[in-house]
């Protein structure tokens, strides 16, 4: 029973972290049309910063990192959040200018590929390929048993999930959220109404980055270690697949998608008999993620629970960049 309890508590934490990721990506992609294919690096930077500011000064022989400190509990999560936001601002400043959306996405993907190589290659930053380990868990000695601690932590993650859920759905309903949707659906029209679309994109990118940083901090304090293996570029696409499956632009659908894809679908193989050599199942899981991705794009781009439309709209809901206005202007 203990093993099951441990497993379910861990799954709950993963679920919470993935929900945070999906909420962040859905705000960026579903509402603003910003395609963050480098999402995982913002989670990673949050995780690394949360780790190094509680690990104590770097000086040990077995791992080296920057900014070693020993800060008390909520501060490291604030730093993780700030790190995610700060890196988003830095990257957003040049990658979100007025360029084609497919270029934007490709640049962020490339950045994600390169970031892994940089962290692996430059050891003094975050201890290279080995990563940082032995990260202390907040209030670890407080609950009587490990099991209590796991469940308390899972509850804490879920509380933050609810808070972030409330925040992003409030943001999406606000006038600012309407501006985001206007930008997503008709960028030229939004611009002509006086919206600064570059600033809007940057704002949503930074808010999403902050949530990503927070999710990284929460994850790293639970698992106690963080290395480049934990944030391969493909991890981003698990979250994207969850959003596609659940429903782009619908927060409840997104939570459902997280439950279906990263939790049920990716955990199910643990209960199947091992096939082939060790590691084959992992590879095949990724192939399956790619296949679900392709299938969603082909069959039902709007997901299981599509975004609720308040007004009558074009039939083509999946198409986020219609261009009729440009043509009319050019003809005139």
């Amino acid at each position: 029973m203990t093993a099951w309890s441990y497993y379910i508590a861990t799954l709950t934490v993963y679920f919470g972290v993935n929900v945070l990721s999906a909420l962040s990506l859905n705000l960026q992609f579903g509402f603003a049309g910003v395609v963050n294919f480098g999402y995982i690096i913002f989670q990673a930077v949050g995780a690394y910063f949360a780790a190094v500011v509680v690990l104590g000064p770097s000086g040990g022989t077995f791992q080296q990192y920057i900014f070693g400190a020993r800060l008390p509990f909520p501060v490291e999560l604030l730093i993780a959040t700030a790190a995610g936001a700060g890196l988003s601002l830095l990257i957003g400043l040049f990658s979100l200018r007025n360029i084609r959306r497919d270029y934007q996405a490709a640049i962020l993907l490339i950045l994600s590929l390169i970031a892994t190589q940089v962290v692996q290659g430059y050891v003094p930053l975050f201890n290279g390929s080995n990563g940082v380990t032995g990260i202390p868990r907040p209030f670890f000695s407080l609950p009587p048993t490990l099991q209590d601690y796991q469940w308390a932590y899972a509850g804490w993650v879920l509380v933050l999930c609810v808070a972030v859920y409330a925040l992003v759905s409030w943001l999406s309903r606000s006038p600012w959220g309407r501006a985001l949707r206007a930008m997503r659906d008709q960028e030229e029209a939004a611009t002509s109404l006086g919206l600064n679309v570059t600033a809007l994109r940057l704002q949503v990118f930074v808010i999403g980055g902050a949530i990503a940083g927070l999710s990284g901090g929460l994850l790293v304090e639970y698992i106690g270690a963080w290395s480049p293996d934990a944030w391969g570029y493909a991890e981003t696409f698990v979250i994207f697949t969850a959003i596609f499956v659940g429903g782009v632009g619908n927060y409840r659908g997104v939570v459902l998608g997280v439950l279906l894809v990263p939790i049920i679908f990716l955990e199910l193989p643990r209960f199947l008999p091992q096939v082939g050599y060790p590691g084959l199942m992992d590879s095949l899981e990724w192939v399956a993620i790619g296949a679900i991705w392709m299938l969603c794009l082909y069959v039902r781009p709007q997901g299981i629970l599509p975004e609720k439309r308040k007004l009558a709209r074009r039939q083509d809901a999946a198409d986020a960049t219609p261009k009729p206005i440009v043509k009319r202007v050019e003809a005139a």
Binding site: V35, F37, F94, S95, R97, N98, I99, R100, R101, D102, Y103, A105, A106, I107, L109, I110, L111, L113, I114, Q117, V118, Q120, G121, Y122, E187, E188, A234, F237, Y277, G279, L280, S283, L284, W286, V287, I289, G290, A291, W293, M294, L297, Y298, P301, D316, A318, D319, A320, T321, K323, V326, K327, E330
Partner: protein
């Protein structure tokens, strides 16, 4: 100085891939992120051919053929199907990304996640001025020059090239003028796929090993070179590759390998700042897919 030599070799490899990418991208407008995955497949095809006794440089032909075949299947089969479902530029990029996940991790599954040695030829060291270079590397440089010359002749000197350029400029007008656009698109997939496969093999000949990440790690350099050089321009792609290859190797000669990847990314940032016209959104007319 030897860093310059290595830089030119790296540039040659990037150039072969970037020329393939830029022709494909210039004509079809698909930002094909599965390009790296196809490189990997072609590299493995060459590796398998080599293991089964196909010797030396004919591996290049095997890899090229594999790349051409796979690219044609993806282009006419998958991309076209999605275009019929209403996918536009952006959705098509998402499609290529899903494909790249499937292919990359499919190769990982088939290759047992191992890295395999690939030694084609024992290579002698040559000295050209103050630059030391192996015979294999010299051949790699010659291959990329050969591809460039061949492409220039094809694009500038033949009717097919003229049709290709016409279609890249305006597909509707080209069709109206009686150009058999379907055939030209097939030719583009085959040609760019061949170069993609060729680049994959050339890459593993130089690296002397092949693994499932081979193409994916190379993709950033290829995309950056193609964008920097301007879509559809082989000459631009080669010049961009030269800049990127030499800068990357110079930086890694003076710092660690980590700095060279940063340098590679720095170049991409410069591209975005310096060539906004080639990457800017919202230009009607150049924004449709040709499949």
């Amino acid at each position: 100085m030897s860093a310059v030599g290595f830089g030119v070799v790296l540039a040659s490899i990037i150039a072969v891939a970037a020329m393939g990418f830029t022709i494909q991208f210039g004509l079809t407008n698909v930002l094909n992120l599965s390009f790296g995955a196809v490189m990997t497949v072609a590299a493995f095809a060459a590796y398998l051919a080599n293991r089964h006794g196909v010797g030396g440089w004919s591996d290049l032909a095997v890899g090229g053929a594999a790349g051409a075949a796979l690219t044609l299947v993806l282009g006419r089969g998958v991309f076209k199907a999605y275009a019929r479902r209403g996918a536009r530029l952006f959705e098509m990029m998402m499609v290529t990304l899903g494909l790249s996940l499937i292919i990359n991790y499919g190769v990982q599954a088939l290759s047992h996640n191992n890295i395999y040695q690939f030694n084609v030829l024992p290579s002698r060291l040559l000295q050209v001025g103050s630059i030391l270079i192996t015979r294999t590397q010299l051949v790699i440089i010659l291959i990329s020059i050969g591809v460039l010359v061949g492409l220039q002749v094809l694009l500038r000197g033949t009717k097919i090239g003229k049709a290709l350029r016409a279609m890249a400029a305006d597909p509707d007008l080209a069709r109206a003028c009686g150009i058999k656009t379907g055939q030209i698109v097939v030719l583009t997939w085959l040609l760019s796929g061949f170069l993609c496969g060729l680049a994959g093999v050339v890459y593993i000949i130089n690296a002397q090993s092949v693994g499932y990440t081979t193409g994916q790690l190379f993709l950033p350099l290829v995309v950056a070179a193609a964008i920097l050089g301007g879509a559809g321009s082989p000459m631009g792609a080669v010049l961009a590759s030269l800049i990127m290859g030499v800068v990357t190797e110079e930086v890694s000669a003076f710092g660690s390998a980590a700095y060279s990847t940063v340098a590679g990314f720095g170049i991409l940032v410069l591209v975005l700042l310096m060539r906004p016209s080639s990457v800017r959104g919202g230009q009607a007319g150049h924004e449709q897919l040709t499949l």
